[in-house]
């Protein structure tokens, strides 16, 4: 499964499952998301938290290799910017894709914003802001 074809297949299956699951939970629905962030509705929060608990347990049982990353200088400022953007636009990097797939056409603008932001980050970091942001693996 670790061949190129295996990894391609795993990414296709994971992408389909992720798009399907996240849409079915309701992460693309702005009001559901906002009610989660203000703790008016714990359903989506429990979905996410429950998933993390299951993953932690299964990874511990299967002794999945841990690759502790350094807490680099970009984590806190980056996460604050991301959290703000998520609350305003309703999009973490996968959400606008499934919003468009649900028919919300303005989410295309969010995607354009993400494209600009991602490219801007690499450009700014290379040129002006020599801030460490760890590995680019995730």
């Amino acid at each position: 499964m670790r061949t190129r074809g295996g990894i391609l297949l795993a990414n296709i299956v994971t992408g389909l499952a992720l798009g399907f699951t996240v849409t079915s939970i309701g992460f693309g629905d702005y009001i559901e998301l906002s009610r989660m962030f203000t703790f008016q509705d714990l359903r989506m929060l429990l979905s996410f938290g429950g998933a993390v608990v299951i993953i932690v347990c299964v990874f511990a049982l299967l002794k999945v290799r841990r690759t502790p990353g350094r807490i680099h200088a970009g984590v806190i400022p980056g996460a604050v910017l991301f959290g703000t953007g998520w609350a305003i636009s309703g999009g973490c990097p996968a959400i606008p894709i499934i919003q468009v797939a649900s028919g919300y056409l303005p989410a295309l603008v969010t995607i354009v914003g993400i494209v600009v932001g991602v490219r801007l980050c690499r450009w700014v970091r290379g040129r002006y802001l020599h801030i460490d942001s760890g590995s680019c693996e995730l």
């Binding site: 998933a51 953007g85 636009s89 990097p93 600009v116």
Partner: protein
């Protein structure tokens, strides 16, 4: 139109796909990382080519080492102790090999496939549930909480998108990379990132509810 999934179904779904990916590929997946590499495909392609060349060269070196070992082994025997030291250094590099291979990011094509598959998976879900509807707004929640003006909507979606794109890359991951995979591996950097972006989103959302 069907209702959204109960919390336990969502938790099982998200957990299953994360665990499945990890077991199948021995890697973590992250949507923001996929965006980053796909959007810089030209440079990433060059990296991959250089990497392939490097792997080829390493294979060539390994073959040469083996061939010369065979050649020298066929020569009249020298005192054994001297022979052992040149052979020994080959062992650790062979042992280190799988580690290097495993830490390489998933190929560029597969990450483009991830993004396209997310779209298709979302499309199947919204069509199957009868929730698919082409519309030019972001729904009543966005209209009431954020803005009702179309120009304001475009401006805020764009700004939000830039913040998401910039922020996730600065933080080195998003809700899938740090949130599901990183937290699942109990990686401290991911736990800090997840707590921070979630806490900020909570604060901003409360502000949005306060303003109306």
């Amino acid at each position: 139109m069907n209702a959204y999934w109960p919390w336990w179904a969502g938790a099982l779904g998200l957990a299953a796909l994360t665990i499945g990916y990890t077991l199948a590929t021995d890697r973590s997946f992250g949507v923001s990382g996929a965006w980053d590499r796909v959007l810089h495909w030209r440079r990433e392609r060059e990296h991959e080519k250089a990497e392939e060349k490097f792997t080829d060269e390493r294979a060539l070196t390994a073959a040469l080492v083996e061939a010369s070992a065979d050649h020298f082994a066929a020569l009249p025997a020298e005192p054994a102790p001297r022979h052992q030291s040149p052979v020994a250094p080959v062992e650790p590099s062979a042992a280190a090999d799988p580690v290097v291979t495993r830490r390489r990011p998933a190929p560029l094509v597969t990450q483009a496939a991830l993004l396209i598959s997310i779209f298709l998976g979302g499309l199947i879900a919204s069509l199957a549930s009868g929730r698919f509807e082409l519309r030019l707004d972001m729904g009543p929640g966005f209209r009431d909480l954020v803005t009702a003006s179309p120009v304001g909507m475009i401006a805020l979606l764009f700004t939000g998108g830039v913040l998401v794109g910039f922020g996730t890359r600065l933080a080195g991951g998003c809700s899938s990379g740090h949130g599901l995979n990183g937290c699942g591996r109990r990686d401290p950097v991911s736990i800090v990132a997840t707590a921070t972006f979630f806490g900020t989103a909570v604060a901003v959302s409360f502000l949005l509810w306060k303003v109306i």
